[in-house]
Symmetry: C2
Subunit: 193 residues, 2 copies
Amino acid sequence: MFEAFDKNISNHVNLSTDELDLVHHLFQHKTYRKKTLLLSEGQVCNFEAYLVKGCVKRYYIDPNGDEVILQFAVEDWWVSDMVSFTEQVPSHLYIETIEETELLQITYPNKELLFKQVPQLERVFRLLVQRAYSVLENRFFTGLTASAEERYLNFIKKYPILPQRVPQYQIASYLGITPEALSRIRASLLRKK
Amino acid sequence: MFEAFDKNISNHVNLSTDELDLVHHLFQHKTYRKKTLLLSEGQVCNFEAYLVKGCVKRYYIDPNGDEVILQFAVEDWWVSDMVSFTEQVPSHLYIETIEETELLQITYPNKELLFKQVPQLERVFRLLVQRAYSVLENRFFTGLTASAEERYLNFIKKYPILPQRVPQYQIASYLGITPEALSRIRASLLRKK
DNA sequence: CTGGTTTCTTAATCTGTATCAATACGAACT
DNA sequence: AGTTCGTATTGATACAGATTAAGAAACCAG
């Protein structure tokens, strides 16, 4: 259960067996059913989680009441509302499982404790945030420049598994277009082929 | 020269006088003329800088050869290409002064040194990255959802000084629209008032 | 298998923004 | 002063994607 998790962390630092034990101890393993809300708008996000198995979406509700998907997370990804979690302020976001999902999650006080005990982890989490930033910045670029079709092609290239696991209208939301538009794009791509 | 800088840092941790001296020592104070390129595509970004006075833009060149502005930075902001700097890989971005600009900048080796000497700073910089992330995520949301007019109104509300310091066509680029579109939006807003 | 959701597709129309082109303005220089 | 160059405005046209509406498929649960 911890193999991939350990690897994910040890990419950045080397921990002793004791330290790793502490880490394992402070991350709680939990399984959630499909369509479970892990975070809702207005709540303070009380976890940072490593996704062992399954799939979740992170989204917010726009002024028209529509879901806008910011991120899908699958195996070996981290999920949280970073802003809400680290600043302990109410979140604007929702986090919801799309499939049955296993997480390893840590609470805010336990993370602080962990940082005290294993200061090297500050570095690990700084790098994590940085990677998240760089992914977002990339996505942002292509969002500004690329057409809907290009963004879709990009998406399936980068996350080839997701179309099989996530309904199409949610992918449309992620791409910032309507389901109709995505459907037409797919039809037009098929014609081209 | 260091007042605002010290405050910016001490927001997050308390440093001893000695530690603060070391920090001051490792950040180099530099002044650049208007229109100086601080970073070009292909270079490894060799600084992380606190902006004491002036204004810079961070942008990339899209496939059509047009400038796409990702960020303006003014007093009390940090500027760098975080990805390039921390992973020491070639940048895709340009950073350029818009006005005469004073920076306090640190190199990669000195930052590593600083982290060794003052491990608390890992925390400061993790929080910095996090704030950058949250700003970007916010901007990304509104980019997906909001119309050009809404984004413009948002922009002048959030950065009321910038319109006076930055040419309009660069603001258009930042908003992801053409200069013509921005001009029309402004005209229409005036009419409404 | 059947009736009901949920998801996806197709088509017709509408809208915001891009593009192209022409003109106007303002500051900087000679 | 006039000339020039960079910047901003205005108008005409084109197009990507939204919206609305309807039907077709897929996916359940009884």
